[in-house]
Structures are given as C-alpha cells and as structure tokens.
C-alpha cells in the first residue's frame, strides 16, 4: 500500500512535470518564432539557376548538392544540357 501511494504521488509529479516541460517547449517555440521573425526575418534562399533547358527543381537540386559537397563555398553559375 505504501508503494501504491508513492507511485500515485510519482504519477502526479511525473505527469505534471511532463506537461509543464512540453507547455514550456510550446511557449518557447512561440517566443522563438516571434524573435526570429523580428530579428532574422529573411530566409536565405539557395541560389536557383533558371535555364531554358533545365527545370527549376533539378537546377535547385544540383545547386544544393554543390553547396553540400563544397561546404557552401562552391556556386553553380551555369547549367548546360548537352
């Protein structure tokens, strides 16, 4: 019976804490959204190369692959289809 009462207390404390932490995470998320929207409002778009021969989504995929492989240093200036 003693264990049961202790387990019941732990249930209250445990569920309460989990709810509090996740509510804090939610509120923190909202706060971060506000802060980021205010101080870093523009998202850096990866360079997209519009060409007549290569569709935009493929051009963006190539551009991102080059970005990853070169550690952000390389840039795609032109894509040609032969």
């Amino acid at each position: 019976m003693e264990n049961f009462i202790y387990a019941l207390e732990l249930m209250g404390i445990g569920m309460g804490t989990v709810f509090v932490v996740l509510i804090l995470v939610i509120e923190l998320g909202k706060l971060l959204i506000l802060i980021v929207n205010k101080f870093a409002p523009t998202e850096e778009k990866t360079q997209t190369i519009a060409t007549a021969t290569v569709p935009a989504n493929i051009a963006q995929a190539i551009s991102q692959a080059v970005n990853v492989i070169t550690g952000g240093k390389g840039k795609v200036e032109k894509i040609e289809k032969k």
Binding site: N3, F4, Y6, A7, L8, L10, M11, I13, G14, M15, T17, V18, F19, V20, V21, L22, I23, L24, V25, I26, L28, G29, K30, L32, I33, I35, V36, N37, A40, P41, T42, E43, E44, N67, V68, T70, G71, G72
Partner: protein, 414 residues
C-alpha cells in the same frame, strides 16, 4: 567406433537441446521475429538484429548468450569445467571477452556501460525534423498525454515489484528503447535484458499495437477528421519568416530549458538536440551530421540489436519475472496510446477546431514509425486525409516527453 559417434554427438548442440527442449521455444520465437522483420517489414532495422541475436544466443556451447548479472552484480559461468561466480563490474573488459565471450564484451562495454542509449539519441536527433512540430506547436502537448502509460503501469507494477523495478518496467510505455535501457541501467540493471527486449519488441510491433488500441477507442467519425480541412476552417495565424534560423535556435533553447528543469534528462535530450543541431546548421557541419546519422547510428543499431537479442537466453526469458515484464510492458504501451487519444477527445470537447485522435495516439516516441502507421490508418478511412505532418508534431514531442519522464523517475528513485 561407438565412442567416436558419441564424441561427435557430444560435440554438437543436439544433446543439450534434447536435454532441454525449451531451446526449441526460443528458436521458434527467433524465427517468428525474423519473419515479422523480413517478410512483414515490421521495423526490420531493429527487429532483424534482435531476432538474429536471440537465435545465436540460444545454441548451447556457442557462448553467444549474454550472461545477466544478478542483483549483486554476480555472473555465474563455467570455466575449465569449474563453476565460477564473479562480480561482473569488477572484471576488466579483456577478462569479460576472454571468460564470457564476444557478445558479453559488446554488451557490457557498450550497453551496460550506458554508452549506446545517448549515442542512439544523438542519431535520432540527427534524423528528426522539428519543422512539423514548430508548424503545429499546439499538437506537441499530446506528447505529454501519451506518457500516461508509464505512470499508470507504475501504479500497478508497484504491487508486484520494488519501486525501482516497477519504474524500469513502466518506462517501456514511453515506446523508446534507448530511454528504457538508460532508465533501467540507473534503477534496476539486473532487469535490463527482459526490459530491453520488451521495449524493442513492442517498438517493432507499433504497426500492430496502435491500430489495435485505435480500433478499440476511436469511432469512424473521429478517424475521418481531416486536419487540413480544419486548418482551412480555423487557419493558423503564425507566420514563419525564417524557418532555418528557427530550427537552429530551437534545439539549443530546448536543451537549456530541459536541463534547468530536469537535469537527469540531459544525457538523452541533450544528445538528441545536439544531433538535431548538426543537421540544422547545414553545410558547415554536414560531415558531422553525416557521420552521426549514418556511420555511428547504424553501427550503434547493429550492436544494440544483436546484443539485446542475445540477452534473451532460455534462462533469462522463460521465467515469471520476464513474462510479467513482457505483459506489463504491453499494458504500458497500450495505456500510453490510450492516454494520448483520450487527451485529444477531451480537448475536442472544448475546442471548435477538431483534432484527429490519431494525433494523440502518436504521442509515443517511436519516431517516425508511429506517425507512418497513424497516417496509414487515416488514409484507410479517407484517402485524402494525410495526417503525417500533424502526427509528427506529437510524435517528436513524445521523444522529449518520455526522456523527461525517465529523468523524473531517475531523480526520485535513483
């Protein structure tokens, strides 16, 4: 001539298997798990190594079974024909490898030391996208509702086990293998084998357990609630101007908050968020992200799966304590899904914007499988009702929730 045949017979495992037919039960179990992993594709990355570990651990004379230490840390084994009892925690790793074999070496070096669970959390973090959660922040609360199973089973198990053992059993309800291992190592290390097996087996069986609980608790009308339609009716007013920066700041901020409130959860939440941060930074940390999410994660999964499977030996598995843990773990899992669903139902009573109860069912940690399973269920009722992104919000929050629950149990009982 007869002597030679006797020697050959004695050399094989047959004589031991015939003397103890319980081995056959373990082979059947291993074959069943392999079938579920390979043919039914129930989380094969986990289930196949576990099942193969079960298989190779149960060949007498093979020396691949993990020897569990008793409450005092003693392992009992035969060396040069003499029965030996030693405290495993005072043995060196080379001694463990020499006396107990390869699998025990892996088990005691990587799992019993507590190394692998946080490492796996790091990999999980690297594979987790907090984007869906940030876009549907309110749904993250169901990650708390789905921890109900942990504490409900703690109540029941406290009548049959010590509090530390009951807490280790109950944490299976968090549906998170690394968390279950981490908690058990801190509270009841002698129960690690059956608890790890139960936790991982039920995680692999999420495609069976979630539909079962959903079928028992949800109506067709509830399961047809279309979240996108609800979003159109009651649009989310939050605007995201720079998701990339938000995703980078988020893991840092969450780690700080959780570390202040529940320091015992930092080993898990901190590593989870570190892995995620490596992913979100992008090109500058890509090499680290790549290593964490592929090389380290895959190696950890192989060793964890095999050695957890190898803990499932005849003596360790076929006893009442283990069977009680397996039954209790199932209840914890079921109650957790039930808890998430009930929280949705209660919230639906008071809000205009209705939520599909499947979002509550995925408050478990089993990411992303729980969400995929929930999405499949929703599509069965309405082929246009894609709930995956919404479920991912509660699902990812469930990882944080179960780690926090583990931290609370450790800090109160450890």
């Amino acid at each position: 001539m007869e002597n030679i045949w006797e020697k050959i017979y004695g050399m094989t495992a047959l004589s031991d298997i015939i003397a103890d037919p319980r081995f056959l039960i373990m082979y059947c179990l291993a074959f069943l798990l392999l079938y579920l992993g390979i043919k039914k594709e129930f989380e094969p990355l986990l289930l196949v190594p576990i099942a193969f570990g079960v298989l190779i651990a149960n060949f007498p004379g093979g020396g691949m079974g993990v020897l569990g230490a008793d409450g005092e840390g003693l392992v009992h084994y035969v060396k040069d024909g003499v029965e030996v009892s030693k405290n495993v925690y005072s043995m060196t790793l080379p001694e463990i490898a020499h006396d107990l074999g390869l699998m025990n070496y892996i088990y005691y070096a990587l799992i019993k030391s507590g190394l692998l669970p946080p490492i796996i959390f790091m990999g999980v973090g690297a594979l987790t996208d907090f984007g869906p959660m940030l876009r549907n922040l309110k749904l993250a609360i169901f990650g708390a509702g789905a921890q109900f199973g942990i504490f409900a089973v703690l109540l029941v198990a406290s009548q049959f086990f010590t509090m530390k053992e009951a807490a280790s059993l109950a944490i299976i309800g968090g549906a998170d293998g690394p968390t279950a291992i981490f908690t058990t190592l801190k509270l009841a290390p002698h129960l690690l084998a059956p608890i790890a097996i139960a936790a991982y087996s039920y995680m692999a069986l999420v495609p069976v357990i979630i539909p079962l609980v959903v079928k028992l608790t949800c109506s067709k009308k509830e399961l047809m609630i279309n979240m996108k339609e609800q979003d159109k009716l009651y649009p989310n007013k939050v605007e995201f101007k720079n998701m990339r920066v938000l995703k980078i700041v988020f893991p840092i901020a969450v780690t700080t908050i959780v570390a202040i409130i529940v320091p015992d959860a930092v080993a898990l939440v901190g590593m989870l968020m570190f892995g995620n941060l490596l992913k979100e930074i992008g090109a500058n940390t890509f090499r680290l992200f790549d290593t964490v999410s592929n090389g380290i994660m895959n190696a950890a999964t192989v060793f964890l799966g095999l050695s957890v499977g190898a803990t499932m030996t005849v003596d360790a598995f076929l006893n009442w304590t283990t069977l009680g843990i397996v039954a209790g773990g199932f209840l914890a899992f079921g109650f957790s899904i039930f808890g998430g669903i009930m929280l949705v139902k209660i919230m639906n009573l008071f809000t205009k914007k209705k939520i599909n109860p499947l979002v509550g069912a995925t408050g478990l940690s089993a990411v992303p499988m729980a969400s995929r399973v929930a999405n499949d269920i929703a599509l069965k009722y309405d082929p246009k009702n894609h709930v995956l992104n919404y479920c991912m919000s509660s699902n990812v929050a469930g990882v944080i929730g179960s780690a926090v629950a583990a931290g609370i149990l450790i800090s109160f009982l450890g």
